[in-house]
Amino acid sequence: MSERSSASPPVVGPLADVQPEPGVEKPDPILVAHNVRRSFGGLTAVDVAHLEIQRGIITGLIGPNGAGKTTFFNLMTGFDRPDRGEWRFNDESLAGMPSYKVARKGMVRTFQLTKTLARMPVIENMKLAATEQTGERFLVSLIPPLWRAQEQAIEDRADELLKRFQLHDKREDFAGTLSGGQRKLLEMARALMVEPELVMLDEPMAGVNPALVQSLLQHVKGLRDEGRTVVFVEHDMDVVMDISDWVVCMAEGRIIAEGTPESIGNNPAVIDAYLGARHDEPEQEATA
């Protein structure tokens, strides 16, 4: 898996002059977190002093087990509330905003344990995710002529995405019958139905058949190439080095290092954090 794909090399341009140090300012941040802290019964899970996510690139978020990566995702996307701190998406504060509104703002996440809607067909999973559907309003839903045209447009878009993600022949299957890798693909495709600016992928490769990993990686790069920003949590360093344009490393809730993939690989703080840590095991924290 160390084979590098030459199709789309890392985008270093905008960050070429940025110093590889924790909390560094970036030219065009889409997401800025400041002093965000979350503890569970005395244990500090996340304590991020400052972090900026650059627009239009792929940022890899790494760190040993229990570093607080998933909790950080939960906090940013409104699935958990921090004890204190503020964070801004496109220069708009998201503090206290419920998760569904965060998604509507254009920051969409996936889950480490895929959350496909098992007893709904793949196509319905996709159509659900489209935003601003008039037919989702109670009274309007009773009069199909009011939403049928939009429904058709959504379906066309969903079919296109399914083709792109090689899921089109599974269109009518229940999502629960898909394989682990297919579910990851479905979740990613479904997230795109929201038309997000920022996609947060929580371990998109976890539990995926190795044969599918390359295809998944290409899809992640595809997101960037069509102008979206990607943040992803990953344990496999080869994968991180392969597709990240910028890497952020967390340990014990803090940002301990960030920089280009090359600089991170040699960073002593990162090596320290990983020493003795069993980074090959999937993280337990998100199963609660």
């Binding site: 569970f40 019964g41 899970a45 998933t70 909790t71 995702f73 939960n74 699935f79 958990d80 924290e285 998100a286 609660a288």
Partner: protein, 426 residues
């Protein structure tokens, strides 16, 4: 709708046992072979004539009415055996007479075939206003503690089972009933004095039933990967099944044990307690502290708490989770059965007693934090005390409402309960 009526009967019965038990006196001297109710109305030793009393069946249909004569006597022929209520029409009372206890204006009772039953409507000045507040409060507190101890004992199993398996067991109340009824049958068969050894036998029976359900039902279902919500609904079916099987053998009536039925209360300062209630309190305290010691000090207890905290972690650290869960069922079933016997001693034995207790157990368990044994104890004590103390200010008919309302409030403000630890989401 007949089935509804059947259950209505049962519930009326329980409420009758709770609310009006003291005001009912039995009399089997049927004059004309037909069922009837009668009584004599007196206030300050004088008969009260011209007062209307109306009888209703369990569905609330009027089945008869009567008026007290010059001797204050009244009699209403009834249509047959069953569950009824009778209400004294307060509007027909003379101006200077009122019900001594305004809540005793309606009495609920059951009639056997051919039974003629005497009902007492105590008249005169309201005693409750006369009694001083502090003594009444102390008595209510004591009653609340007794009730709370019983709920706590019964609820430990409910909480631990939830903690270890995630099952919200709506059939837990039937373990309580099972214990009480089993002790009742032994007590009746072996005669007076046998309750002392009938109780431990019932505890063994309850433990066996709990373990049997775990081995025969819940474990196989878990092994089949049955979802938790499915399990919850199954437990409701099981509750219906067990409750009505018990009713089939025990009957719909509410009856006391042969032993300790009537006792002279002992007076300690402001509070009165019967020796049987005293025994219940002491025995409950001993049992509950033993459970506490077991959980805190023994290997088994530590294993139980470990499984309850984090099942996967416990399993990977070498604890035999299945074994621990089985022991929890044994213990929970036995404790529930003992709680049932005590509840039967303090009140009466009926096939609905456990189901009626169920929501209060849930309230206690949720108050204390689902899944913890000590939480269940603390929460249950709160529920018991709130239930009884509320009667100082509010109608006894509503005493369960306050406990349930507090549970709802706690869920709103602190879903993890009083002693529970906030769970991590995500």
């Amino acid at each position: 709708m007949r089935s509804l009526a059947t259950l209505v009967l049962g519930v009326l019965l329980v409420v009758a046992a709770l609310g009006a038990g003291g005001a009912l006196a039995e009399d089997d001297n049927a004059e004309d072979g037909g069922e009837a109710i009668r009584g004599t109305l007196t206030a300050e030793g004088e008969p009260v004539p011209g007062v209307t009393i109306v009888a209703f069946d369990a569905d609330g249909n009027e089945v008869g009415a009567g008026q007290s004569d010059d001797q204050g006597e009244w009699r209403i022929p009834m249509p047959g055996p069953g569950e009824y209520s009778a209400t004294l029409d307060e509007a027909t009372l003379p101006d200077d007479v009122e019900l001594r206890d305004p809540e005793r204006g309606t009495l609920e009772f059951s009639l056997r075939t051919g039974q003629e039953r005497t009902l007492l409507f105590p008249l005169g000045e309201d005693e409750r206003v006369l009694a001083r507040f502090l003594p009444r409060a102390s008595q209510a507190l004591l009653n609340g503690i007794i009730f709370g101890l019983i709920i706590a004992m019964a609820a430990i199993g409910l909480s631990l089972v939830f903690g270890t398996t995630g099952l919200v067991n709506f059939a837990h109340g039937e373990l309580v009933t099972f214990g009480a009824v089993m002790a009742f049958f032994i007590n009746v068969a072996a005669g007076p004095g046998s309750l002392l050894w009938a109780a431990p036998v019932a505890v063994i029976g309850g433990a066996a039933l709990g373990a049997g359900l775990e081995r025969g039902l819940w474990r196989p279902l878990r092994d089949r990967k049955t979802g938790l919500i499915q399990l919850l609904v199954i437990s409701i079916g099981l509750s219906l099944l067990l409750r009505n099987l018990i009713q089939l053998f025990y009957g719909g009536r509410s009856r006391p044990y042969l032993d300790y039925a009537v006792q002279q209360a002992l007076q300690f300062g402001w509070v009165r307690i019967t020796p049987r209630d005293l025994i219940v309190v002491v025995a409950s305290l001993i049992v509950l502290s033993s459970v506490g010691v077991l959980l805190l000090k023994t290997r088994l207890g530590k294993a139980m708490r470990a499984v309850s905290d984090n099942r996967d972690l416990a399993e990977s650290s070498g604890i035999d989770v299945k074994q621990v869960i089985l022991i929890i069922w044994l213990m929970g079933g036995g404790l529930a059965a003992l709680g049932g016997v005590f509840l039967g001693v303090v009140e009466n034995v009926s096939y609905l007693m456990g189901f009626r207790l169920l929501l209060l157990m849930f309230a206690g368990v949720i108050l204390g934090g689902l899944g913890t044994a000590f939480g269940a104890m603390v929460g249950s004590m709160v529920v018991g005390i709130v239930t009884e103390m509320s009667t100082l200010w509010f109608s006894t008919e509503l005493k369960f409402v306050w406990a349930l309302a507090i549970m709802a409030l706690v869920l709103l403000l602190r879903p993890q309960g009083i002693l529970g630890v906030k769970e991590r989401i995500g």
